[in-house]
Subunit: 331 residues, 4 copies
């Protein structure tokens, strides 16, 4: 039973269907009918005008979004455990031409205005130091904690005050929406650009870069091509994303993933490092306990010496969660 | 009837099958069973050891391959109509961190040792000028002309003499193999790295970077991740490529595409700018003649004022080619 | 007798004096009194507001100026024999993060609107091709030919129409002003940024980046620091430049250099590839003739198989020019 | 009385003399007689073969040196208060094309093997994380503390074990040599490349990049040109450096600067954050005490809330140091 990563999830049947329905000649790159539908569909979803472009990976989505806000000599304030810092092999440095990540602390990998302020307060040497050009936050955070609308508003106000762009890494944006229960527009808050993840949530290889300043789409189009991310058969990417928007599959899948995690969380009790909110759990466990669970057939990721990470996904079976929950309770 | 681009072709049924067979949990990125099979399968195909990595696009494949040969302060000798120069929005400049394309002339967009020598002869100012670090050729060329083994050998000798890397853009490598009739290893010749195209030939979104110096694979792995091209569900890309290698579908498809072009070529006669060899034809045509064909339902690309480009693909119907051939003959 | 390069010229006595006068403690980088005087002094010279920053080399000046106009995915239209293309080892690719030089033809290494238009006409493939973001011209050109005000106006109109930045490489801007006789502002014309050269004209290691859009100075300040060009003892650079502005030494020196070239030109007659205008001459000469001159003690640069390049400078002695002129006439 | 920075020091008379002696035509860039002397002079100084190239600034020297060791996708382990991290406006990110600084802790801004190990231990995610390619240390450290030979040997062993390049930022290398009393070669230790500072120590605008692997000089030559740091009148930079090597002026000046600091340190007693070793002192002081000193005419830099930084230089007058020492003692 696999609780390693939501990347391991299969592709949703409706996504398969949509891809196969796209399997007829259309114009290449992003000039096909499906790709051209993206802007309108996401504008409808968010209830405000936006531009939406597909790319294959979250790393590309994050970096292309940041490229609309950050000059090569600038910096991006982010949490020191943010995915862009820890897991993207320096991709922001590549896409932003040497721009720097300016690392902030923050409980549960979430930033507060105070955390951001601490970084800004250290930038005092004028032209000798990298200036901040943007803030990047992760919704939900690397520890599975969503930002609530009022938290986003406070960060947005700060970005505005300091003339900083605001980016949201939404690899698990859908899970955050499901957890918070609010409309997508509230869960995005005042961000300028959002990487909206679909791959972990039932897609195959398509994420969306959402730009609430639609004039920035032009830049992303050039940079996407230049990064080799403008696929010639882009219709298959658009198909995946649009299929997930139909009938709110993106939201249903996220709810299913969150629910599967909740079953485990309910049994894990005090072992939880953070209260369960989405489909990620960080559970305190000794080496011996980990071994015991693995002996029972559970696969998961050793986060650090104190805890393991458990991740469920849209296709996780509730009975597997129950088994794991019980096994943890029985430790 | 569509003769615009082989990018418009559908995905081959066996590719669909393989992708769906991959639709079960496996480890992410390129650690799954299929991705790990790539090296061995391509080593078998070429009859020599090589490393093979999937990426989504030809642009990414070309640039990652070149990154194994070219330092940021260096240059790549290529034809002035090469895809990397004309159609990739400066991607080589991005991936190679400002390295320069050093443009050569050459009949039919093919380079000869003399063409390469003319570029090298112009580099005389020592540290004041960008030095050549590599040569990039396209198999088959932008005008649909394959390099024959002896032509490749001559270029390879030159690369060796001048200590230059040798890269082959093989977006239509399969068509070149089909046209030349030789084994893949001969059609690759003495290149250090090959971008082996599958997307135009029945794939969906997977190309292979082939490295004949397997020690370079390490570098490409880092750079692929850093460019956001390490897809988390990489198994679906590996599945596409491996399916095309099974039963030589890549070669069958290429033959079918070439044959479909030959039907047209046989009727086009003196209008052909270059003799037909693969699935691309450049056909001299007046504006009036183009309009007449379009009125009959044929879609194609205006190459320049003298000629149009016609492209067939693996799924092109022979009857459509016949119709187009006859229509051209009747002009 | 040395006619190789104006780079070989000594430093003007007034420049030495000014540097030594600066040899007392002041605040570092560009916060000293002299550096802070630059903006006002150049604004007075040009009769319009501008920002002026020192850097050590023309390459740095050109690239920093271009960085105010060109995004990493963009291109710079320039002559195919421009210094930024031929002699800067790809520095624009480095400073502009992979942006591309888009090469134009043009008689005497000068661009006309028609030359520029020919480049623009070739950019037709949308996101697949590098878009032009700027034009760079050289005043005077690599063949020693100044642009006249009406020529500059025509290029400026074109830049405006196509929303392109306009940069002027003024390595020999002073010589162009001396040749045209007009005020500096007319010789700069409608450019957005000018690299104003002092090193070849009596300075030691200081050039000025002039920004007619003063809001761009901020960007150049960051980029200069980031490129390691913000010298901690910047006062010695400012001193050089300000000394050259005093009593119009920059203009006197340029006139002296031009005059020294004219003496030779008057004897060279039909051998001149272009009419003499500044301090560079391109003189047709056989290999035997070159050898004969060298035997007489003249040093110069072999430009190509048809001609040599002769360069005079502010300290060139008229008697040496006369000797060379007579020697050429006697060939 | 100025204790702000050694950047504010005047140029040494012997340096002026040498620059003026260089004021006659020679070949440009680094082909002149003085520039060609650099390798031999530094090889003699270090008693081992090395290549030595001039550049105008320490930032350029550091970045060009690091470029011989670090690929664009790699990282440099350095102290979190290192100059390359805090004061160079992201120049390493620019010169190394997006490579990352991997920040280590360390008492007094010095790294120990344990500090380096802590960084390496955090790099566990394979291709998802930036790999370390080099270590950069500062001799003497940002807090004025030299590394002793045995400390360097331990770091060198670690670099070797992990196949990392080792770079030394020697902005105050001379002061470290003066403090340790050893020969230069011991104070450099097992580093691969050294930025040897002259500007703070009596030069005007010339630092040396020293490469103990002389084969790397080729790369630095290209990169220096490409960064706009190959000055056309390079002889004036070489002259500065060679003059400082003559009669060990570099060492005499460093001793004088250190001595001037010692006079103050002897009075500052327990206020010193670190024991005095070179020409930098960090002295605990309240806001009121700072104001009191400034009222007496002393200028210095507020390091942080707990202490100020005092810097002496080769031309600091002993009587000024005595006055400041007494003033501190009297607080």
């Amino acid at each position: 039973m696999q609780f390693l990563s939501d990347n391991a999830a299969p592709v949703h049947p409706k996504v398969w269907e949509a891809m196969q329905a796209a399997d007829n000649p259309d114009t290449p790159y992003d000039t096909d009918a499906l790709s051209r539908e993206m802007d309108a569909r996401f504008s409808a979803l968010f209830g405000r005008e936006c531009a939406a472009l597909w790319v294959a990976t979250g790393t590309a989505a994050n970096c292309l979004a940041l490229a609309t806000m950050v000059e090569p000599h600038g910096g991006v304030i982010c949490h020191r455990e943010a995915h862009i810092e820890m897991d993207e092999c320096g991709a922001p440095g590549f896409y932003l031409h040497g721009a720097k990540l300016l690392l902030a602390a923050g409980e549960g990998a979430k930033l507060t205005p105070a955390d951001i302020d601490a970084v800004l307060a250290g930038i005092t040497r004028g032209v000798h130091q990298v200036p901040a050009h943007a803030i990047s936050i992760t919704q939900a955070s690397e520890y599975g904690l969503p930002y609530r609308p009022e938290e986003l508003a406070a960060i947005g106000a700060m970005a505005k005050e300091h003339n900083l762009g605001l980016h949201m890494d939404g690899a698990r944006f859908a899970n955050a929406v499901a957890a918070l229960g609010g409309p997508a527009v509230e869960v995005a808050g005042p961000v300028d650009a959002l990487s909206f993840g679909f791959v972990k949530n039932g897609g195959m290889g398509a994420e969306a870069v959402i730009l609430f300043d639609t004039e920035k789409a032009e830049l992303v189009r050039w940079r996407r091509k230049r990064a080799g991310h403008l696929q010639s058969k882009g219709r298959y990417l658009a198909a995946q994303i649009l299929a997930m928007l139909d009938d709110e599959i993106w939201l249903q899948n996220a709810r299913a993933a969150n629910d599967a995690a909740k079953i485990i969380a309910d049994e894990a009790g005090d072992r939880l490092v953070h209260p369960q909110q989405i489909n990620e759990l960080f559970v305190r466990m000794t080496a011996g306990e980990r071994a015991a669970l693995r002996d029972q057939g559970f696969a998961f990721y050793d986060w650090d010496e104190t805890c393991v990470r458990l991740v469920t996904h849209w296709a996780s079976r509730h009975e597997d969660s129950e088994k794991l929950g019980k096994a943890i309770a029985a430790l």
